[in-house]
Symmetry: C2
Subunit: 111 residues, 2 copies
């Protein structure tokens, strides 16, 4: 990416990639899914569900927050996270269709 794509175009795809990257992890996808279903969760609840270190979950949440996908809300000791965007569900629908398509293709190859 050094000469043919101008800087603006580069920057645009860079910005897009940052958003996609923020979701490119199983734990973060789970969090996004859970928040889209339940609306709001504190770090401790998510940690409990995921079953890993709280520090790790917190780091994942900060990645999502940095990308502008979630926002946090501190109430007493707990920090509650929720989605900032509502189009994320379409992501899952699309991803699921890709997975289904891959599975179907896989099956055909086995016949």
């Amino acid at each position: 990416m050094k000469e043919h794509m101008d800087e603006k175009t580069q920057a645009r795809y860079q910005a897009r990639a940052q958003i996609v990257k923020a979701m490119a992890h199983p734990t973060r996808l789970f969090i996004v899914d859970e928040l889209s279903n339940h609306g709001e969760r504190c770090v401790c609840e998510l940690t409990e569900m995921i079953g890993t270190d709280m520090s790790t979950v917190s780091r994942h949440l900060s990645v999502l927050k940095e990308a502008g996908l979630v926002q946090d809300d501190k109430r007493s000791q707990m920090v509650y996270y929720r989605l900032r965007v509502n189009c994320i569900l379409k992501f899952f629908a699309c991803i699921t269709s890709v997975i289904a398509d891959n599975a179907e293709r896989q099956e055909k190859l086995l016949l």
Copy 2:
């Protein structure tokens, strides 16, 4: 992710993450966008547009292919790639809305 989420759930998010990961790169997002607009492109065309090493582009394409997002078609010396899925456009719409939202928020903070 060791005890609270069962293996099936884990595997499901793992599979989803693999798909998202495949798009989590500026160059690969560009390729996906270009293919969704133009339908079909050979490696050399994409290399020309991106302006990087052909081996690098080829690697990116293999990542997309591995995830089931594109398929290739060899005709004479050239290999043409095209999208396997058509819901990808919704991705961009959603991502763009996140970026717009982030920018707006950024602006508010500066006031």
